[in-house]
C-alpha cells in the first residue's frame, strides 16, 4: 500500500456561469506524503486555488467537482458535509490569503478557537481555552492569555494570519493547505510566517500545500512543485528540478521574468508576452501556445499531455515527446 496522505486523481472542477460552462480545473493528478511540502504555482485563474477548494468540499455553489480525492484510503470527494467535517478542520485544514475575511468579526478569538475543539475533540470549554492559548503562544503571539479574548480587528495583519494558522493547527492536522498565506503581508512579517511554517514541518511532520505565485517562497519552503496553467498541471517535479532544470516553456518563462533582489538589473526585464488565457475561451491545443517561444504547428492542433520522466517529474509539452 502507498502511504500517501492525500491522493487526487482525474480531478475536474466545472462552473456553470451565465456565459456558459467554465472548466477551472482539468484532469489534475497528484499526491502528498506525510511531512512533505508541495508548492502549487500559477497565475490568477490558473486553477491552483480551485483544486484545493474542491478537495475541501468548498467549491462555490455553481461549481461541481468530479474525479477521485482520497484522504489516506477514504474517498472524500462529494461526500456529505457531516462526514467531511470529521476530516476538514481536523486532520486537514486550510488557511486563506485574507485573514480578516476568514475570521468572524463579531466573535472573540477565544470563542472562534474553542468552538472547533469542543465540537471535534469533545473538550471542555476550559481545556479548549488552555489549548487555544498554547497554540497562539506557539505561533508567536505575545501575551496570548490576554489577547485570546480580543476581537479580530484588534490584531494587525500579520498577527491575524498567525491566529488563522493557530486555528488551523488546533486539532493537529496532518495536512495544512495554505492559500497565499503571506501575499497580503509585508516582507519582514512574511519571513516570520514562513519560519513558523518551516518549524511546523520539522516539529509535527505536517504535510503542507503552499499555493502561491511567489517562486521565492517556493524556493525556500517546498520539496516538490506543481506548476499550473489554464486549469491544468503543466509541469511537476522536485524543487531542484523545477528551479535548475525546468522543462516546460511556461516554467522557464516564469523563472526568467521573476525580478531577483540578488542580481544587478539588466536593461530590459524578460517578460512573457501576451495575456494569461481566458478559461472560457481556451484555444484548441496547448493553452500556452500564444505566449510560447517554442510553439510548433502541432501545439495548435492537439494538447500535449503530461510526459513523465523516471525521477517523478513530468512536463506537458510536445518537446518532451520522443516517440
Amino acid at each position: 500500500m502507498t502511504n500517501h496522505i492525500l491522493t487526487v486523481e482525474n480531478l475536474r472542477a466545472r462552473f456553470q456561469t451565465p456565459d456558459g460552462e467554465v472548466e477551472a480545473v482539468n484532469d489534475v493528478n497528484f499526491h502528498i506524503d506525510p511531512g512533505e511540502t508541495l508548492g502549487v504555482v500559477g497565475e490568477s485563474g490558473s486553477g491552483k486555488t480551485q483544486i484545493f477548494l474542491a478537495v475541501m468540499g468548498l467549491l462555490a455553489k455553481n461549481g461541481k467537482a468530479t474525479g477521485t480525492v482520497r484522504y489516506k484510503d477514504k474517498d472524500i470527494l462529494n461526500i456529505p458535509s457531516r462526514q467531511l467535517n470529521k476530516i476538514r478542520g481536523v486532520t486537514m485544514s486550510m488557511i486563506f490569503q485574507d485573514p480578516m475575511t476568514s475570521l468572524n468579526p463579531f466573535l472573540k478569538i477565544s470563542r472562534q478557537m474553542t468552538e472547533v475543539l469542543v465540537e471535534h475533540r469533545g473538550m471542555s470549554e476550559g481545556d479548549a481555552l488552555k489549548r487555544a492559548i498554547n497554540m497562539l503562544d506557539r505561533v508567536g503571539i505575545p501575551g496570548a492569555a490576554q489577547r485570546v479574548h480580543m476581537y479580530p480587528h484588534e490584531f494587525s495583519g500579520g498577527m491575524r494570519q498567525r491566529v488563522m494558522i493557530a486555528m488551523a493547527l488546533l486539532c493537529d492536522p496532518e495536512v495544512l493547505i495554505a492559500d497565499e498565506p503571506t501575499t497580503a503581508l509585508d516582507v519582514t512579517v512574511q519571513a516570520q510566517i514562513l519560519d513558523l511554517l518551516r518549524d511546523l514541518k520539522k516539529d509535527f511532520n505536517t504535510a503542507i500545500v503552499m499555493i502561491t505565485h511567489d517562486l521565492g517562497v517556493v524556493a525556500g519552503l517546498c520539496d516538490r512543485v506543481m506548476v499550473m496553467y489554464g486549469g491544468r498541471i503543466v509541469e511537476t517535479g522536485s524543487v531542484r528540478n523545477i528551479f535548475y532544470d525546468s522543462h516546460h516553456p511556461y516554467t522557464e518563462g516564469l523563472l526568467k521574468s521573476m525580478p531577483r533582489i540578488d542580481t544587478a538589473s539588466e536593461e530590459h526585464m524578460f517578460a512573457i508576452p501576451g495575456q494569461p488565457p481566458n478559461l472560457q475561451n481556451l484555444p484548441q491545443g496547448c493553452a500556452y501556445q500564444e505566449r510560447c517561444a517554442y510553439v510548433m504547428d502541432r501545439c495548435c492542433v492537439s494538447r500535449p499531455s503530461l510526459f513523465g520522466f523516471d525521477d517523478g517529474r513530468a512536463s506537458a509539452c510536445f518537446r518532451e515527446d520522443r516517440q
Partner: protein, 334 residues
C-alpha cells in the same frame, strides 16, 4: 546613474522637511487631540530622467508622501520645490497648469478607471481638461497614438474598462498619465496587483517611456526586487522617517541601515540553494502604531542592534559619501 546627476545637476524636484500630520480625535470624550505623523520630515532631490524608489512596509507613509508631493494631500509643513518654485499651499488656480507636468498611476488598475467611460474618454480626459483648444479629431488622433505606444490596440478605443485584463487596465492608466507628456510620474505600486508574467511587461513599458520622454519617476513599492530593476536611487521609509537614501548599487551591495538590511534579507530569492543558505536578519514584531511612535529612533523597537542612546536621541541623517545617506547612530559599525 551618477551620470544622470552629473549631466543635469539641477534637480527637477526638491522636497525639504516635508511633514504630513493627521489630527485624530482624542481617546474618550475629553481626550486631547492626537497626531498621526504619516510623513515626518523628509528631504530629497529628484533629477531629470531619474527614477527614485520609495520603499517601506505598509503604513510607513510612502503613498502619503507621494500624494503630498502632488498636493493631493496638503502637507502640514515643509517645501515641495517644483522647477524652482515652492508649490506647498499654492492655490488651485496656480496648481492647475502645473498638474499637466505632474501625473500619477495607481495600484489597483481597474478601480482607478471610471467604469462608465470608454477607455478613449478616459485617456482623453486630461487633454480635454488641460488642452481644450485642441479639436475633437486631434484629441482622438493623439489618444490612438498613445494607445498604440503603450501596447493597446487603437481599435479598442470604444471599449469599457471591465472588458480588459489587469495588465491592460494598467496600460490604460499609463496612457492617461502620459497623454499630456508630463515631466514627472508618481507610480504608486503600479505592478503589485498584477501577475508575475505581466509585471515585467509593465516595468519594461515604464522604462521605455522614461527614456523616450526623458521622464522623472517616483516609484513607490514594497517590492524590493522590482525596485532594484527600475530605480536609480532608493529611499527607505519607516514610520514616516527616512532611514536610508542611496544609489541602487550602493544600497543593495552595502546597506548601512539595519532596517534596510533586514528588508533586503527578508525578500525570498527564487533559487532554492541560495534561499535556504543565505544569511537573514529576522525582525521581531510588527510595525508600531504611527499615532504613538517609539521615542528616539523610530526603528529601535524592532532593531536587533538597538542600544540605550537609540531610545533617547533621534539619529540625524548622515552623509556616508556622495551618494549614500543614512539615519542610524551606529551606521559606521554596520
Amino acid at each position: 546613474m551618477n551620470a544622470i546627476r552629473k549631466k543635469k545637476n539641477v534637480p527637477i524636484l526638491s522636497v525639504r522637511d516635508l511633514k504630513v500630520h493627521f489630527s485624530l480625535p482624542g481617546k474618550g470624550f475629553f481626550g486631547a487631540e492626537r497626531q498621526l505623523k504619516a510623513v515626518d520630515g523628509i528631504d530629497f532631490d529628484l533629477y531629470p530622467g531619474e527614477t527614485l524608489g520609495i520603499v517601506g512596509e505598509s503604513g510607513c507613509g510612502k503613498s502619503t508622501l507621494g500624494r503630498a508631493i502632488l498636493q493631493l494631500i496638503p502637507p502640514t509643513d515643509g517645501q515641495v520645490v517644483w522647477l524652482g518654485r515652492d508649490i506647498v499651499g499654492a492655490p488651485h488656480r496656480e496648481m492647475q497648469p502645473l498638474r499637466r507636468d505632474l501625473q500619477i498611476i495607481f495600484q489597483d488598475p481597474l478601480a482607478s478607471l471610471n467604469p462608465r467611460m470608454t477607455i478613449g474618454e478616459i485617456i482623453a480626459e486630461p487633454l480635454v481638461t488641460h488642452k481644450s483648444e485642441l479639436g475633437k479629431d486631434e484629441i482622438k488622433a493623439r489618444v490612438k497614438r498613445m494607445m498604440a505606444r503603450v501596447g493597446l490596440l487603437p481599435q479598442m478605443i470604444n471599449r469599457y474598462p471591465h472588458e480588459f485584463s489587469g495588465g491592460q487596465c494598467q496600460r490604460i492608466g499609463i496612457a492617461r498619465a502620459m497623454i499630456l507628456e508630463p515631466k514627472l510620474i508618481i507610480c504608486d505600486e503600479p505592478v503589485s496587483a498584477l501577475d508575475v508574467s505581466i509585471q515585467a511587461q509593465i516595468v519594461n513599458l515604464l522604462q521605455e517611456l522614461q527614456r523616450e520622454f526623458d521622464l522623472s519617476m517616483i516609484f513607490i513599492s514594497h517590492d524590493l526586487s522590482i525596485v532594484r530593476h527600475i530605480c536609480h536611487r532608493i529611499l527607505v521609509l519607516y514610520l514616516g522617517n527616512l532611514m536610508e537614501l542611496a544609489d541602487r548599487d550602493s544600497i543593495y551591495a552595502n546597506p548601512k541601515h539595519p532596517y534596510t538590511k533586514a528588508l533586503i534579507s527578508a525578500v525570498p530569492i527564487p533559487d532554492p540553494e541560495i534561499e535556504r543558505t543565505k544569511e537573514r536578519i529576522v525582525l521581531t514584531g510588527d510595525l508600531p502604531s504611527p499615532i504613538n511612535p517609539p521615542s528616539g529612533c523610530v526603528f529601535r523597537t524592532r532593531c536587533p542592534f538597538a542600544k540605550d542612546v537609540c531610545a533617547t536621541d533621534v539619529p540625524t541623517v548622515d552623509t556616508v559619501n556622495d551618494h549614500h545617506q543614512v539615519a542610524c547612530h551606529f551606521h559606521e559599525r554596520m
